[in-house]
């Protein structure tokens, strides 16, 4: 299933101006061409060919073999019958699986919940996949990374319709935190453990912003790529978390990660977790939304403006600024995707408390949480799935399909259940083509007319705050692809702006819009953003770029439910010749 689209495999990193490294590795999470015997050996990449040969040797290649059969924990058909969510219904040829790649447990120094606590909540709130990401640390590398695994394995069995990945929150040497996770398998723990012991900034005392530490971060990504290449793990991904929070992720570092291993380092949190942190006192923590309450430090990238330390409509400055850092990467033609996660450590108004006694340093975990009976108003997080969702267009319900969907950028994100589903297609106008979807590149002849077809299934049902969100407006953001930049620390791009806004004039059902890109002479990209219309402000780069973008969040009074946005990842349009 999920193969009804026109060219599912050819688009790996085929973005204009960017051919670095990606082609060989990008397909490794995608088994379809490997097992599809109508694709001759000669047409496979070296990596794909070696995998096909491995399957041949194992006697696996041939009738009945599908990617799901080999790699999936359960077949897609079984998933479809067992599961009742909207995400089980294919849209545009994909299962749009909602997930969260940033979740902490009692194995983090600032966490408290059992794996099963997080997964059962995430499952109840609609998540199809989750990544357990406890902080990298000496104790975690030594004990926690081992101890968490049986809990994850047990939870996979107990909660069958949510995929639970083991990962960690990597202290990126010289930079911020990031999610690293691998596909489940025999070596998942050993690989993660070796990675953490060798490359975690905290474990290695390598947090300072030095060239040496920056190189260690790249070495870590190379390690992950090598682990995949050597089949030690089926797949591995890295995404930067809360990237602008403390100014630690310099533009050249982000470009460096991505360019070193574009099939591993694939994106960043467009919106951080801790979305309840801005709820006003006395009912809430009264902090910055996302706990974005930091100021520059010695290791911060000096050229970042003070606004970069804040959130805008709950989103990180790198993503929220039209024409800003994210767009500057997209304008280079670089695949770099955004996600939205909970960063759940301690949940807003939860009445439980960290288990008393015990010692994280010697036990690798805190004791199981206890019932305290007092709702904690200073907690700034939501349960996974409760507020933030990362929707991934997956070919099937499987670990590797989710990872591949993330890698391909078939991803959109929302807060507070603002919309139910988003289908976006870029296609040549008037040809009847299906075109391509998020993360992909539409190749057209020069000067061909192109349109973006947008179909949005509105909320139609209450979110977890028990109201039905109303989408007010959808913005189309378009930029020109101008190729690689010479200054790797650039964080703006001049030719990206909001080119069209559609007012949404209904509250139920589905809305469709078509944006006419027009005749395309130069490579461009298009991405979408939508809002409930409750808060807005002129964008940081001016009204001509973004007349009604997200407003800076009010410190100590940012009700996340009253300021909802969705963002899509981009589609590129590349004219030939």
């Amino acid at each position: 299933m999920g193969h009804g689209h026109d060219h599912p495999h050819e688009h790996s990193h085929a973005h204009p101006h960017d051919h670095s490294h990606g082609a060989e590795h990008a397909g490794q999470g995608d088994l379809a061409p490997v097992v599809d015997l109508s694709v001759p050996d000669a047409e496979l990449s070296p990596g794909e060919l070696s995998r096909r040969q491995m399957f041949r040797r194992a006697g696996l290649l041939g009738a009945g073999l599908t990617a799901a059969g080999v790699l999936g924990t359960q077949g897609a058909a079984a998933a479809a019958t067992q599961r009742t969510r909207t995400s089980t219904e294919p849209r545009d040829g994909y299962l749009w699986l909602a997930g969260d790649h940033h979740i902490h447990t009692q194995h983090s120094s600032d966490g408290m919940y059992k794996v099963s606590d997080q997964v059962r909540h995430g499952n109840a709130y609609g998540l199809d996949w989750m990544v357990i990401t406890d902080h990298g640390s000496v104790a975690h590398a030594k004990i926690g990374v081992d101890k968490v695994n049986p809990d994850i394995v047990a939870t996979r069995k107990a909660v069958k319709d949510t995929l639970v990945f083991q990962g960690l929150e990597w202290n990126i040497p010289a930079a911020e935190h990031g999610t690293v996770f691998v596909a489940p398998g025999r070596n998942e723990v050993a690989t993660l453990k070796e990675f953490e012991n060798s490359f975690d900034g905290s474990v290695k005392g390598a947090t300072a912003g030095t060239p040496q530490n920056e190189a260690l971060a790249i070495a870590g990504l190379n390690f992950l790529a090598d682990a995949v290449r050597r089949r030690r793990v089926e797949d591995a991904l890295f995404l930067a978390n809360h990237p602008a929070r403390k100014g630690l992720d310099a533009p050249h570092e982000i470009r460096g990660w991505r360019d070193a291993q574009p099939s591993i380092a694939v994106g960043m949190e467009g919106a951080p977790g801790h979305q309840a942190a801005g709820i006003a006192k006395p009912n809430g923590a009264g902090s910055g939304r996302g706990f974005y309450d930091n100021s520059p430090s010695a290791d911060s990238f000096a050229a970042y403006p003070p606004e970069s330390y804040k959130t805008f409509g709950g989103f990180d400055w790198m993503t929220a600024t039209v024409g800003g850092l994210w767009d500057s990467l997209l304008a280079e033609g670089k695949s770099w995707w955004i996600t939205a996660n909970s960063d759940s450590h301690t949940v807003y108004l939860d009445t439980s408390d960290r288990g008393p006694g015990g010692n994280l340093d010697t036990d690798g975990r805190y004791n199981d949480p206890i019932y305290k009976g007092v709702p904690n108003t200073s907690n700034g997080d939501f349960w996974p799935g409760y507020y933030s969702k990362t929707h991934v267009g997956s070919r099937e319900f499987s670990y590797t399909a989710v990872m591949d969907g993330i890698r391909q950028g078939r991803v959109w994100v929302d807060h507070g259940g603002l919309i139910t589903a988003l289908v976006v297609r870029a296609r040549q106008t008037g040809t009847g083509q299906r075109g391509v979807t998020l993360g992909d590149t539409l190749h057209v002849r020069k000067s061909a007319k192109v349109e973006i077809a947008i179909e949005i299934t509105l909320a139609n049902q209450p979110n977890w705050a028990q109201f039905i969100p109303a989408l007010a407006r959808v913005d189309v953001i378009q930029g020109e692809v101008t190729g690689p930049v010479s200054d790797k620390d650039v964080f703006t791009t001049p030719a990206t702006k909001v080119v069209k806004s559609f007012e949404v004039k209904k509250n139920t059902g589905t809305v469709t819009f078509t944006y006419q890109v027009g005749a395309v002479d130069r490579p461009v990209y298009v991405r979408l953003r939508g809002t409930d219309g409750n808060r807005g402000a002129v964008g940081l780069l001016g009204a001509s770029v973004d007349p009604a973008g997200p407003a800076i969040d009010v410190f100590g009074d940012a009700d996340p439910w009253k300021d909802l946005w969705f963002y899509s990842n981009p589609i590129w349009i590349a004219p030939r010749g």
């Binding site: 983090s108 910055g288 010695a298 907690n379 800076i552």
Partner: protein, 220 residues
């Protein structure tokens, strides 16, 4: 004159501590301007400090400048001063009496470890030019407590302008600003500017939050 100091502090809090300590031990008068500066020399990126100090003749051009809104930046004043302060590092501050581990710069004079002396010089130059740096000590600092209007902030202190993040226009003079008893303006183009942001209750507050959530914090 501007005294640059650099103990290689890795955090702003450590640098602030050094500033207070040195201002006290040097017996600097009220109205002294003391700043933190992010510097990158040969070693790790770190935080250096700068302090306005009296010159040998007892004149304190920088303090006077910083205290009056709209006047020239400290550096400009110093260049114009008749006693040629830059050429006479031997002011009331005796660099030789400073702790040996500390880098220091005053005029052309340098003491202490090389990279720290360089950091100190960078800090002093930024302060003198009013180009960058974050003010910890400044005239009127102690009067910036509780909730004030932006007009009161300007009237009571050396702060010359309040700028709100994400807005191009300055706030209204009667806009209330919750100081949180923690105000750290910055040098920007020779002027002392307080960066503010929208806060609860329709107020503004300084963009720098007093006790930020530490990395890998226990939010519980």
């Amino acid at each position: 004159m501007i005294l640059g100091l650099d103990a290689g502090s890795r955090t702003v809090a450590e640098a602030e501590h050094l500033l207070h300590e040195m201002a006290e031990s040097l017996g600097l008068p009220a109205g002294t301007v003391g700043c933190t500066h992010f510097v990158r020399t040969t070693g790790l990126a770190h935080v250096a400090c700068s302090l306005s100090v009296p010159t040998a003749t007892g004149r304190d051009a920088d303090t006077a400048s910083a205290g009056g809104a709209g006047t020239a930046p400290a550096g400009g004043t110093r260049t114009d001063s008749a006693d040629g302060a830059g050429a006479a590092p031997a002011g009331v501050v005796d660099l030789g009496a400073l702790p040996a581990h500390l880098g220091a710069a005053l005029g052309d004079a340098r003491t202490g470890p090389g990279d720290l002396a360089e950091g100190a010089a960078l800090a002093a130059a930024a302060h003198a030019a009013g180009s960058s740096g974050r003010l910890v000590l400044f005239p009127g600092r102690d009067a910036l407590t509780g909730t004030l209007t932006t007009a009161e902030v300007l009237a009571r202190s050396a702060v010359e302008r309040v700028v709100v993040l994400g807005r191009t226009e300055d706030p209204a003079p009667d806009a209330p600003l919750a100081t949180n008893d923690f105000v750290r303006p910055q040098w920007r183009d020779g002027r002392i500017v307080l960066l503010a942001m929208p806060a609860a209750g329709g107020m503004l507050m300084p963009a720098e939050v007093p006790n930020p959530t530490p990395c890998c914090a226990d939010h519980g």
